[in-house]
């Protein structure tokens, strides 16, 4: 748990922003998500140097450098792996992972499964816009099968990947859906995810107004989920497989203990290790 024994500091969200100007297009949903993350961190109250944000490649993966926290902007699809290593080596840090649908569900899909399963205390924030934006408009695993693009004329004709169901099946301990157009609600969900022990997954509908201008309509489609979170993954999966994809809120909050490596109270020395080799 990240919030045990931490003294809240009186830091404003602005204290978590860096001076670097984002490369995003005007109107991009990720501006609001950045804002929500800094608000959430202000709510959590740990200073920026005790927080690390890890990402892969893509528009939304640029977020670490736009914060005043420690950041690791690594290679495409491997953010969860890098964050897992960081958290296990440095359990004292609050570790967030940010990225997009291509980074997390396509090239990084295997790490997504195993991060859910492993349940290390991380918070994974995915900005899902159903498109590869940085490479200028190719279909991602969450793109509708009939969406026309240069790379897949007439559509991919491949069914979409359902990240929340996959997360539930793979064992994520906290699963929520948010909408970037509601930065305050999103901030509250992210803060809740950070506080929840184990692997927390927040899928954020974050429109790409450049390549998916029709996503501007999302703001009229989203609504608060009619029911609160459950601790039953089967019920949660049923709900999320039968809704229209626009219910916002915490879907599932589990109570599985996070993975924490065993540490000896009184470690042995290197000389103790040598002894086993001596003839």
């Amino acid at each position: 748990m990240n919030d045990v024994g931490i003294q809240p500091t009186a830091l404003a969200p602005a204290a978590f922003k860096s001076a670097i100007k984002p490369i995003w297009c005007p109107g991009c949903g990720d501006f609001s998500v950045l804002s929500a993350i800094t608000k959430a961190l202000a709510m959590i109250g740990r200073p920026p140097h005790e927080v690390a944000i890890v990402s892969g490649i893509g528009c939304s993966s640029r977020i670490p450098a736009y914060t005043s926290c420690y950041g690791l902007h690594g290679v495409h699809g491997r953010a969860l792996a890098a964050a897992t290593g960081l958290k296990l080596a440095r359990p004292d840090l609050t570790v967030l992972v940010t990225g997009g649908d291509g980074d997390g569900y396509s090239i990084g899909g295997n790490h997504f499964l195993h991060a859910c399963r492993r349940n290390v205390d991380l918070t994974y924030v995915v900005m899902d816009n159903h498109v590869y934006g940085m490479t200028k408009g190719q279909p991602s695993p969450t793109t509708e099968p009939d969406w026309d693009s240069k790379l897949a004329p007439g559509g991919t004709h491949i069914r979409v990947f359902h990240p929340l169901v996959v997360a539930l099946a793979a064992g994520a301990n906290f699963v929520a859906r948010a909408f970037s157009g509601d930065p305050n609600g999103t901030a509250a969900l992210i803060a809740q995810a950070i506080r929840h022990p184990g692997f927390s997954f927040v899928e954020i509908l974050s429109p790409c107004v450049t390549f998916r201008p029709e996503q501007r309509e999302w703001k009229t489609q989203v609504r608060a989920a009619p029911v609160g979170p459950t601790d039953d993954p089967v019920r949660a999966a049923h709900r999320v497989m039968t809704d229209d994809g626009f219910n916002i809120g915490v879907l599932y909050a589990g109570s599985r203990a996070p993975y924490v490596p065993e540490r000896r109270a009184s470690p042995a020395t290197v000389a103790d290790l040598e002894a086993e080799f001596r003839v």
Binding site: I20, P47, P48, H49, E50, A52, V54, R62, P64, A65, S68, C69, Y70, G71, L72, H73, G74, V75, G77, R78, A81, A82, A83, T84, G85, L86, K87, L88, A89, R90, D92, L93, N110, H111, L113, H114, P261, E262, R263, R264, P267, A268, T269, V270, D272, L273, E274, F277, R278, V279
Partner: protein, 590 residues
């Protein structure tokens, strides 16, 4: 004892004996070989045991190849003095790996028939011994213990040393131990009753044993890593590196570290980048296929200047290749297999003991220079077990240049004179930054500007090129105007071949590189001063080391190459003949 200088050799010729113990699955030959080595250790001697087996996961035919000697041995001999087979099922498979001569002896079980023609045809003398009958006469006894007693006696091991080894291994309770000791005694006695008596080369009595370790190369590499300060490991199982991880998992837990089994090698390299970014010295171990998967991640370590150590226990390649056999064929990939201009450290241990020293040094260099270090071990070093002198402690560990809290005008990738810039460790206030695989400014802001790219490329290259690696970069031995250059596990066979050539009056220099990248052309030039002829020895098909040396160093004119692929190890006699050919002696030397 400095690393750059030859270990003082024992006086006189090496005294020792080579034994192969073979049999089908479940015959217990690996246990017998392990205990034979352990008994030699108790008796004060040195030795090496190489395992070989068929492709079955469990229960296939197997052979323990054991060489015992009065001094450290890191290579098998040219031929075996004794082949003992508990049975002959599929043991003919090992004919290439168990060369015999007319001076060799074959012992088989009386009930198992004659040895296969491929062995019998060597002219080796054959003796049948009723090992199974002997074991059957003792309730609960295993035939491999009869074999152990027989072989132990024939190679001159004291009975007490064999008993100590069996007792130390006792996992099955008192009754089983008593039966095994009885079987051992029966085998030992049978050796003295052979008719006609058998006189094999023996391990001489060691009056005053030195401090020695019994260890495999994989264990040694893991130990060196921990002694160097590694406290986080993430890795994916792969032959022949897995035993290194299996040794490290409990060992790391004991010293307060963590080992995590990753979902794949893409994860393991990025996990250790995460751990190292967090300030904890981190390592992964793999083999060729895993190294290939890690290439992008190693590039991230280069660009983000994150220290990581990757131990590649090389096996036959390409692709899945020959997983459980040795080859030095990942060299080209290790020194040049990343995209972009990506300076990295590449090191290779020259012996089982040196797996500890070199891995520890690699941890030091990676941390000191904030760069990835690849350690090229191989299956032969990794999976062989040896009695060694305690590995040299280079006395260096993880010493990373870190940023102070609230350092004024902190820039993570500042263009310092050495090229190494202070690294802020998460948790340190006032110096936060984002480590990046994107090209960046000194202040770690992503940049595609020509000036920034050039500056950072220069910085990352300079920090490796300008570092003083000291004498440890190579083991240099001998003088003369001809030199043999090698690296890694072939060093031991080359050393024995050179010793034989010297005994015939040749003056030869032996240069075994431990630091392969960055290339040290000035140091090699100094090492080659006065040398007019050079031959490069390595175990791969493409002469990778030879080509690498020709690309990066000024060698004397017309350098020669002796290279061949695995899976069979380079043997001293083969290399001695190659040196003779190179010296223009041709077949006369054979």
């Amino acid at each position: 004892m400095s690393d750059g200088i030859d270990r003082a050799p024992a006086r006189g010729a090496l005294q020792g004996v080579s034994v192969a113990l073979a049999g089908s699955g479940g015959s217990g030959v690996m246990t017998a070989g392990t205990l034979l080595l352990a008994a030699a250790a108790k008796a004060g001697g040195y030795g090496l045991m190489v395992r070989t087996s068929g492709p079955q996961i469990r229960g296939g035919e197997a052979a323990a190849l054991v060489r015992l000697a009065d001094r450290p041995v890191d290579t098998l001999g040219d031929a075996f003095d004794l082949l003992l087979a508990i049975d002959w099922g599929n043991v003919n498979r090992f004919a290439d790996e168990i060369p015999l001569t007319a001076r060799s002896v074959i012992i088989g079980d009386s009930d198992e028939g004659e040895p296969p023609a491929i062995y019998a045809g060597t002219g080796a003398r054959y003796l049948a011994v009723p090992m199974k009958k002997t074991a059957k006469a003792i309730a609960g006894a295993w035939v491999n213990m009869v074999a152990l007693g027989l072989v132990g006696a024939l190679v001159g091991l004291p009975r007490s040393a064999l008993e100590q080894a069996v007792r130390a291994d006792g996992k099955r309770g008192e009754a089983a131990l008593a039966a095994n000791l009885a079987a051992l005694a029966a085998g030992y006695t049978a050796a003295g009753e052979l008719d006609p008596p058998l006189a094999l080369p023996r391990l001489p009595r060691i009056a005053q044993p030195r401090d020695r370790w019994l260890i495999s190369g994989n264990e040694a590499a893991g130990f060196g890593a921990i002694r160097g300060g590694v406290r986080f490991v993430a890795a994916y199982p792969i032959t022949p590196a897995t035993e290194m991880l299996e040794w490290m998992a409990p060992a790391l837990a004991r010293v307060g570290g963590t080992l995590l089994q990753a979902e794949d090698e893409l994860a393991s390299i990025n996990m250790i980048i995460g751990g190292a970014y967090g300030g904890v010295p981190s390592l992964t171990a793999t083999a060729g296929p895993g190294l290939a998967l890690m290439a992008e991640g190693i590039g991230l370590a280069v660009a983000s200047e994150t220290p990581v150590v990757v131990v590649d226990v090389m096996r036959g390649g390409p692709s899945t290749g020959i997983p459980a056999k040795s080859e030095q064929s990942d060299l080209s990939f290790a020194v040049s297999g990343l995209h972009g201009d990506a300076p990295r450290l590449v090191l290779a241990p020259t012996s089982i003991a040196d797996c500890a020293t070199t891995t520890q040094w690699a941890v030091h260099l990676a941390e000191r220079l904030q760069a990835p270090a690849i350690v090229l071990s191989d299956q032969f070093l990794g999976q062989s077990r040896a009695i060694i002198d305690p590995p040299v402690d280079p006395g260096v560990g993880a010493e990373r240049l870190v940023a102070e809290a609230n350092a004024p005008d902190y820039k993570r990738y500042r263009d310092t004179e050495s090229g190494v810039s202070p690294m802020a460790i998460p948790g340190t206030p006032g110096v936060t930054y984002t480590a990046d695989g994107l090209e960046h400014t000194e202040a770690a802001v992503p940049s595609s500007a020509a000036r920034d790219h050039r500056l950072q490329l220069d910085k990352r290259s300079r920090k490796l090129l300008n570092f003083d690696y000291g004498d440890r970069w190579a083991d240099i031995q001998g003088d003369g105007d001809a030199a043999v250059i090698t690296f890694g596990s072939t060093t031991a066979a080359v050393r024995e071949a050179v010793a034989r050539a010297r005994a015939q009056g040749h003056r030869l220099r032996l240069i075994a590189l431990r630091l392969l990248a960055p290339a040290q052309p000035q140091r090699l030039a100094a090492a080659l001063e006065g040398v007019r002829r050079v031959i490069v020895v390595e175990q791969n098909h493409g002469a990778q080391f030879y080509r690498y040396l020709r690309g990066h160093f000024d060698l004397p004119a017309n350098p020669a190459s002796y290279h061949r692929p695995g899976p069979l190890p380079l043997r001293p006699g083969e290399l001695h003949r190659a040196l003779a050919d190179w010296n223009g002696e041709g077949r006369a030397a054979r």
